[in-house]
């Protein structure tokens, strides 16, 4: 279980995140949504120990600040918004860093082939020999996800659930790959892990999230199931624009929802 209690983050004299309480149980996919600048990424960075915070964060009952880097790396993996690379690594070499950095949990005989399996999962089969820097933004994002998956390949290891922290994992992906990636995240949760993902697409969020946390000006504006949270009032209050949940566009206006995907 991920438990955050009264987490606040200040950068300089400016308070970015204020007194956020947050809990993710194993088996759950929690989405963090909110307008730009509402403190989503800062909060995620506090959860992953990248930024100093006040308050308390624990992973599986252990205080997160007390975890050694390699202990934390064997409990959770983190996908950043974007990753720039200065040396010509191949895709396989990047994904391999996940295998060596964490504990994949697969038998040692299979660990050699794990990068290929992870790449196939994110629909990048055959990309192992390509240079990372020559890929498109969306492909790079999926390579990073494959690396992150390798780090905590088994959602549960030694009886302990493990976690994925994903900062806008689908931001530069086409609709097909948005669905593929969100299905991977949901599958990770269904098999006993926990997922925290910052998302922008409210439809995708409603479709995949078990729990939605809405951030607004550094505070938690609402949290709960998609049905409970996504209301006309909340969207107007938080995003500052009047939208109606569940309203259909005029009859001659096409619209495409991820929910209509045929499995």
């Amino acid at each position: 279980m991920i438990e955050a209690h009264q987490v606040s983050v200040s950068i300089g004299s400016k308070r970015i995140v204020s007194n956020v309480d947050f809990t993710v149980r194993p088996g759950e996919l929690a989405a963090i949504v909110g307008p730009n600048g509402s403190g989503k990424t800062t909060f995620l960075k506090a959860l992953t120990g990248e930024l100093h915070y006040s308050g308390n964060v624990s992973l599986n009952g252990r205080n997160a600040t007390a975890l050694k880097p390699w202990e934390a790396a064997s409990i959770r993996a983190v996908l950043p918004q974007s990753t720039a690379l200065s040396f010509p690594f191949t895709v396989r070499e990047i994904v391999k860093l996940g295998v060596t950095g964490g504990r994949s949990g697969v038998p040692s005989g299979e660990a050699d082939r794990l990068p290929e399996r992870a790449l196939a999962r994110v629909d990048l089969e055959g990309f192992a020999g390509r240079f990372y820097q020559e890929l498109s933004g969306g492909e790079q994002q999926r390579v990073q996800l494959a690396r992150v998956l390798c780090q905590v390949w088994a959602p549960v290891l030694d009886g302990q659930p493990r976690y994925l922290f994903l900062d806008e994992p689908v931001s530069s992906l086409d609709i097909k790959h948005q669905l593929i990636i969100m299905n991977i995240a949901r599958d990770f949760a269904r098999r006993g892990g926990g997922v925290v993902a910052i998302l922008h697409d409210l439809n995708l969020t409603a479709m995949f999230a078990d729990q939605i946390c809405v951030m607004h000006r550094g505070r938690l504006a609402a949290s709960g199931s998609p049905q409970a949270v996504l209301t006309d009032d909340l969207i107007e209050q938080v995003f500052g624009c009047r939208l109606r949940v569940g309203a259909l566009p005029a009859a001659n206006m096409p619209f495409v929802l991820p929910q209509s995907a045929v499995a």
């Binding site: 950043p80 990753t83 200065s86 040396f87 690594f89 191949t90 396989r92 996940g98 990068p115």
Partner: protein, 369 residues
């Protein structure tokens, strides 16, 4: 131009299990080949020089005992080989390896292929430390030199390099992000300050010290003695021996400090150890051989093209290739204007300068300053 995929290249190597995107087999092969080349280069350097002293005769004497017609290895030959050429070769191997590995580690630390101790003022800082001991060793720093003896010079150079690297890192890095433009500019500023202070010391120096300084500043292996090897060798060997432990962390660091930390790397400790190791290796090298530039940038760059940027292979391969290139540069410097000698710093700069420009032209648009 580098191939879009390396599958086509590795596919041709028979007998090597082929995994697309995995260059470790090729890297190991390259390290083996470089080790052989270094051994050959070192033997070749032992026999090549202004004198016709026959090192081959010496070697065969070691191996097979005195053979008929070969007993009378002259005293002159044995002095030339044992006391002049051999220490020079050992020093060349140590310094070449130290410069190349320091470059590779620093590039990993700053996440940029253009970082080089010579370019960003670390060598100048080490030089300042060395010159301080040469000029002030008899007066102001007398207790220091008396206490440390022949270690005073390399340790002072180490201190100078360490201070410069720490200032550089703190100026160029904000919240885990290293600004390369700031790093290069700060390196220029620090280098200029170190050179100015060095200039003041040179101005204060007496005639005997001036001769020492000139000899040293040009950058040369000519003054190699067993004493210098005893002073600088252990520092370089210890510093280089720590770098293989940094390799995995430096690989993860290529993805950024935060991501490296999420991958389980103790980033702060990695940075401290890397900074101290680089400063020690550069300090000791500068102390015994002066300013020899461009090895640290040329060697890792060539190797990344050949075997990829994985530091587990890049660091040992850099040590071997750096040693080879410095021995070759030394051979050129000894013979090109024979019987006189060209300072080796001139040789490496003459070759390295154009090479550096070539990197910039090739990378234009890729390296974002």
């Amino acid at each position: 131009m580098v191939d879009g995929t390396i599958a086509g290249l590795t596919g041709e190597e028979e007998g090597v299990r082929h995994v697309s995107g995995d260059r470790s087999a090729r890297a190991l092969l390259a390290i083996g080949a470089l080790a052989v080349v270094l051994a050959v280069t070192a033997l070749f350097s032992l026999t090549w020089g202004a004198s016709d002293a026959s090192a081959l005769g010496l070697v065969s004497n070691w191996l097979f005992g005195a053979t008929p017609g070969n007993e009378a290895l002259s005293v002159r030959d044995s002095i030339i080989v044992y006391d002049i050429r051999l220490p020079r070769i050992i020093l060349g191997v140590l310094v070449g390896a130290a410069l190349a590995v320091s470059g590779a580690v620093m590039q990993g630390l700053f996440r940029n292929p253009l970082a080089d101790p010579g370019l960003v003022g670390v060598s100048a800082g080490a030089g300042l430390g060395a010159v301080s001991v040469i000029v002030l060793g008899g007066t102001f720093l007398a207790p220091f030199t008396a206490l440390l003896g022949s270690y005073a010079l390399p340790l002072a150079a180490f201190g100078g390099g360490l201070v410069t690297t720490i200032i550089l890192y703190n100026v160029a890095t904000r919240q885990g992000r290293t600004s390369i433009a700031t790093m290069l500019l700060a390196g220029i500023a620090l280098g200029a300050m170190a050179i100015a202070l060095t200039g003041i010391l040179v101005y204060m120096a007496d005639d005997r010290q001036l001769r020492d300084l000139t000899f040293w500043q040009l950058g040369s292996l000519a003054g190699a003695t067993w004493l210098k090897i005893a002073a600088a060798g252990p520092i370089i060997v210890i510093a280089l021996a720590t770098t293989p432990f940094l390799a995995k962390g430096l690989n993860a660091l290529a993805l950024g400090e935060a991501t490296a930390s999420h991958l389980g790397v103790p980033v702060q400790r990695l940075k401290y150890v890397a900074i101290v190791a680089v400063s020690a290796a550069i300090g000791a090298s500068v102390a015994v051989s002066g300013g020899i530039g461009f090895i640290g940038i040329v060697v890792p760059h060539l190797l990344r093209l050949a075997i990829g940027p994985d530091n587990r292979y890049l660091l040992p391969a850099s040590a071997l290739l750096g040693a080879c290139l410095l021995l070759l540069a030394d051979a050129v410097s000894r013979t090109i204007v024979a019987p006189a000698e060209l300072p080796i710093g001139i040789v490496t700069a003459a070759v390295g300068g154009p090479f550096f420009l070539w990197i910039l032209l090739r990378k234009r648009g890729v390296v974002d300053l």
